[in-house]
């Protein structure tokens, strides 16, 4: 009896602890610009991880969108409409993302949503937005399936017409990284590791395929669990494999630990990752071990974009937390695309906000599809799948404790 009690309680408690980790939280971190007179308030939802894992980049998305909303309100971009941000924390958990999506679509003033950060979270949200016919623009998702369907390699088919993204896909990212690793870094033998999540596993697989295609060799592959801290066994395998490069598909939480443990074990090969690792937290967590590590990131460096100068100044001046570097400017452009679509809808309705929110949402989806303007990150426009037409990528390398852009280019398939 006592023994079975131990087993039973441990099973129950494990279940309970896992479930509680998915509870939803309403973190309305966004400031709200007051309602003046008879102007109508419309809400734009933001969903990103605002606490815990990935929160540095997640907060960059929230505040990037916040600045776009503030700018639109200040410049009266849509006369008679005040925009308000509703920022929800998904903790990088798909289930939480889905309930946040339900909460956003349930808001009768909501016209669209920006987010999420994680492709795996996006998968659970797409259906919710599609049913509500509400536009969703992710500044960060890169998994090809999201816009091009399960069989994207052979038969591209757009699953949801409400889903758009301002980030390019992993197909191009993996290909760009493979080309750079083989041709520029002159690496021939790669060890590929991923975190089994939608984003990481997808990216790692594409990288491995593309790396083989350009002539390199994938010596071994392995997978890790998110939340793991000890990678001793993996590190020994890498050491023994004779690889001259480690490619990691996943987020910085694990890769920072992997690179540290790898270098501590005396394996001085660089770790190459995707945009999910592109955050200052990676360098802070890995310390000197991160020196020489590389990532590919979406678009061109925010600091070099003339249009983003004011944005970065505002971000810093407001003292916002998080990291604008990776997706802040993309979140700004995504938010602006929604605001401009609302403007088009209002203009088409004789300058009045359509009173039926469902009609407005539906028009906004159509207008976002037609987007064509110069944003902070370049031209903002979407192709027939909802993917951005802006296909620029940049390789960054850690140099003296900072990410330095080493090469920018337009990605093409190898």
């Amino acid at each position: 009896m006592r023994r079975s009690m131990v087993i039973l309680t441990s099973v129950l408690a494990t279940g309970a602890l896992t479930l509680t980790a998915c509870g939803s939280r309403d973190d309305n971190g966004g400031g709200d610009s007051g309602d003046n007179g008879d102007s109508k308030t419309l809400t734009i939802g933001v969903d990103a991880p605002l606490s815990g894992e990935n929160s540095t980049t997640g907060l960059g998305i929230q505040y990037g969108a916040q600045i776009a909303v503030d700018d639109a309100n200040k410049n009266k971009l849509v006369p008679g409409v005040t925009f308000k941000l509703k920022a929800l924390d998904d903790k990088a958990q798909p289930a939480t993302g889905q309930s946040n999506a339900t909460s956003i679509t349930g808001d009768k003033t909501a016209v669209g949503a920006v987010g999420p950060l994680n492709s795996g979270v996006a998968q659970t949200m797409q259906q919710v937005f599609a049913s509500a016919n509400m536009v969703q623009i992710s500044p960060a998702n890169t998994n090809p399936e999201l816009t091009q369907g399960k069989n994207w390699q052979t038969d591209k088919k757009r699953p949801y017409k409400t889903y758009f993204r301002t980030a390019t896909t992993d197909e191009l990212q993996g290909s760009f990284a493979a080309g750079y690793a083989y041709n520029k870094l002159k690496k021939k033998k790669v060890f590929v590791v991923d975190d089994k999540q939608t984003y990481g596993a997808g990216l790692a697989k594409i990288f491995a395929e593309q790396f083989k295609k350009v002539g390199g060799k994938v010596v071994q592959t392995d997978h890790v669990n998110t939340g793991t801290k000890d990678f001793g066994s993996l590190v020994t395998k890498i050491k023994n494999s004779g690889a001259d490069l480690l490619y990691y598909g996943g987020q910085y939480d694990e890769s920072a630990l992997i690179t540290k443990q790898l270098k501590d074990a005396g394996v001085k090969i660089p770790l190459f990752g995707g945009d999910g690792m592109f955050a200052s937290t990676y360098i802070e967590a890995a310390g000197a071990s991160s020196e020489g590590d590389l990532v590919t990131a979406i678009g061109v460096p925010a600091d070099t974009l003339p249009a983003a100068k004011t944005f970065i100044e505002t971000y810093k001046a407001k003292g916002y937390k998080g990291d604008y570097g990776a997706y802040g400017a993309y979140a700004y452009d995504a938010t602006t695309a929604i605001i401009k679509a609302v403007k088009a809808a209002v203009d088409a309705n004789d300058g009045k906000v359509p009173s039926d929110i469902n009609a407005l949402r539906s028009t906004v989806v159509d207008e976002v599809q037609k987007s064509d303007f110069e944003g902070l990150t370049g031209k903002v426009a979407f192709d027939q799948y909802g993917d951005t037409t802006n296909k620029q990528l940049t390789v960054y390398q850690v140099e003296k404790g900072e990410w330095k852009a080493v090469e920018t280019g337009t990605a093409e398939l190898n």
């Binding site: 009896m1 006592r2 023994r3 009690m5 131990v6 087993i7 309680t9 441990s10 408690a13 494990t14 309970a16 602890l17 509680t20 606490s51 815990g52 929160s55 540095t56 590791v193 089994k196 592959t221 392995d222 997978h223 890790v224 669990n225 939340g227 793991t228 801290k229 000890d230 990678f231 001793g232 066994s233 993996l234 590190v235 020994t236 395998k237 050491k239 023994n240 939480d253 920072a256 630990l257 540290k260 443990q261 501590d264 074990a265 005396g266 937290t281 802070e284 967590a285 890995a286 310390g287």
Partner: protein, 309 residues
């Protein structure tokens, strides 16, 4: 290159950490039959206590040889205070309650501690850098670093001290008596409440030692670090035979080695490629647990005690 010695070393190091934390589960269970699920969080607060000493109390640039003992003391104090406080204010009032009540309290306490650290410790909502001991040494084909040596030495010293304490000291024997039969022990003049507090304090201190080793080894800590480590340590305690302190240490080592070897070698077995690798290590570790419990329900070193529940 033969990787087995290195992989065994990796496993034993990880296992030592599990074992140190598992002591806390097993001692408390042995005496009050309570599974203290907040123990993983006591481990976590110990790490933050040590971090506080390093970053906010010691002057910058303190030599690690001086800093580490002070961090151990700081982390130990925090962990002991929280462990004893939890016993006094959360568990003692429920001493006579049905067993599920303290269990749920433990889970609640665990979440509460996580959220308190996340919300009130500076920048604790993401990983915080922890000073490392990263100098490496090559012993044959095995590479280990200073933090690993610290972990092994700490585990051996702690375990020997505990074994000596429980066997030889008056309090230790009182503790054994309480574990065997709390009511009779009380009738014989043992202050069982005091014994229980001591059990919580020792568990807390061991968790803090493990936490400092964790920080030194992995270089960063976060508010969620206690969850998985706590779960694994609890598994180790059950594997070794919950209630038995040697069992906790052995269970930790077995679990750590099993996990490491599974992730290192299973994917090399023909036909098992899909079931190997680091991502499957937990599956094999828990499969081992199930197997051990099937064959030896009392755990590796557990005693066949009369059923009291």
């Amino acid at each position: 290159m033969n990787t087995l010695p290195q992989q065994l070393a990796n496993g034993l190091l990880l296992g030592s950490m599990y074992g140190l934390i598992a002591i806390g589960y097993t001692m408390v269970y042995g005496i009050v039959q309570l599974i203290n699920f907040a123990h993983g969080e006591i481990f976590m607060t110990g790490a933050f206590g040590a971090l506080t000493v390093y970053f906010y109390i010691l002057p910058d640039g303190t030599a690690m040889a001086v800093a580490v003992p002070l961090m151990l003391i700081g982390g130990g104090i925090v962990a002991i205070l929280i462990a004893v406080g939890a016993e006094r204010f959360a568990y003692r009032p429920l001493r006579g309650a049905p067993r599920l009540a303290p269990l749920i309290t433990a889970i609640g306490l665990s979440l509460a501690l996580q959220e308190v650290v996340r919300n009130f410790y500076p920048d604790a909502d993401r990983a915080r850098a922890f000073p490392g001991l990263d100098t490496t040494h090559d012993i044959g084909s095995v590479t280990i670093k200073d933090a690993d040596i610290f972990l092994v030495v700490a585990a051996i010293v702690c375990m020997s001290a505990l074994a000596f304490f429980v066997r030889k000291s008056r309090t230790g024997r009182a503790m054994q008596a309480t574990a065997q039969d709390p009511d009779t022990a009380q009738l014989m003049g043992i202050d069982t409440n005091r014994i229980i507090v001591i059990a919580f304090a020792i568990g807390g201190f061991f968790a803090a030692v493990a936490a400092v080793a964790y920080g030194l080894k992995y270089g960063n800590i976060d508010y969620r670090m206690g969850f998985l480590m706590g779960l694994k340590a609890f598994t180790a305690a059950v594997l070794g035979g919950i209630g038995n302190i040697y069992g906790a240490m052995l269970g930790g080592l077995v679990l750590g080695v099993a996990e490491t070897l599974a992730s290192a070698y299973i994917d090399g077995i023909p036909g098992m490629q899909q079931l190997g690798g680091q991502g499957w290590s937990d599956v094999w570790a828990f499969a081992l647990l199930i197997l051990v419990l099937l064959l030896r329900p009392q755990g590796l070193l557990g005693e066949r005690v009369a059923d009291r529940a």
